[in-house]
């Protein structure tokens, strides 16, 4: 299959216009179902009580903060190797969404931590590496906005993104490598999840809902970026003709 065929911006605009309403509808439905399960169906935890309900927004946001950076790193690698403009657009459009998920993870984690740990924040390896991830996202957004030429900005941002990708395994394994206040992995781990299935099902529904939310927002943001670049090209062409 020739993937370059699908990476054509004009073709992408046509395909995404057809997919986007379905993605949006699926996202809204799953978020509604997920919220219902998380707030009304899932039982309280035997230790944490009702506070465990924060998990249903914190864990999917945390997972997406890393997944989105993974998407960004993959798109950056493709942009550097094949110099494909759509890969560059994919990376640029994913950064603000990733930053929002990471911010949500940090805030909800803090709200959860103050009740369970007795503190809003500790400089342990997991929390600090996620804060570094948030700062990486902000740095990338700033870099794209600083350099006027999208091609040059894209190359610089792609290199920075790939360097920053070293933080992903640090985030994932920080709870195993160092002694942290944050608990070790309890969902995606060898030997299966340690969470009861009654809590796990709403968590998976919310996880899929957040993934679809990212897909919908990413497609829409990519379409916007393609239009922005068209506007820029037209204005430059007009300036050259004048």
């Amino acid at each position: 299959m020739d993937l370059h065929r699908f990476a054509n911006p004009a073709r992408f605009m046509r395909l995404s216009a057809a997919i986007l309403p379905w993605c949006g509808a699926a996202t809204a439905t799953l978020i509604a179902v997920g919220l219902y399960l998380a707030l009304f169906v899932a039982p309280p935890d035997y230790q944490q009580g009702e506070a465990v309900r924060i998990m249903y927004v914190h864990v999917p946001a945390a997972a997406m903060s890393s997944v989105v950076y993974g998407v960004l790193a993959l798109a950056s690698a493709i942009a550097i190797i094949w110099r494909h403009p759509l890969a560059d657009i994919a990376a640029q459009s994913a950064a603000p969404i990733g930053a929002a998920f990471t911010l949500l993870c940090l805030v909800t984690g803090s709200l959860w931590g103050v009740k369970m740990w007795g503190t809003w924040w500790v400089w342990d390896a997991r929390l600090t590496s996620v804060l570094v991830l948030f700062l990486m996202y902000l740095g990338l957004i700033a870099l794209w906005r600083t350099i006027d030429d999208p091609a040059r900005a894209g190359r610089a941002a792609a290199i920075l993104t790939l360097v920053g990708a070293v933080n992903l395994p640090v985030i994932r394994f920080s709870v195993d490598w160092w002694n942290t206040l944050h608990q070790p992995a309890s969902v995606f781990r060898m030997g299966g999840p340690t969470i009861d299935v009654s809590l796990l099902i709403p968590l998976f529904v919310m996880g899929i809902a957040f993934t679809l939310l990212f897909l919908t927002l990413h497609l829409a943001a990519m379409r916007n970026e393609i239009m922005r670049r068209r506007v820029r090209t037209l204005l430059l062409t007009q300036a050259e003709r004048a």
Binding site: E50, T108, W112, K115, L217, A220, M227, R230, V231, L234
Partner: protein
């Protein structure tokens, strides 16, 4: 629904989630209309892509 003694923190977490997702959606939708307006404005002023312009007579379409 009784959220117990941690109700304030649980509600704050969900309100934050709604606010962050709401702002993301507003940003994407707002940006879409801004770009669409900008493109329509350029088209109205007759500024279009070369590929969208009518070809002069005698010039063949590219294969």
């Amino acid at each position: 629904m009784d959220l117990g003694p941690h109700a304030g923190f649980i509600i704050a977490a969900y309100v934050t989630a709604i606010a962050v997702v709401g702002l993301l959606i507003a940003w994407v939708v707002g940006d879409y209309f801004a770009q669409k307006r900008a493109l329509a404005d350029l088209e109205r002023r007759g500024i279009t892509r070369r590929s969208a312009e009518p070809r002069p007579s005698g010039v063949k379409e590219p294969a």
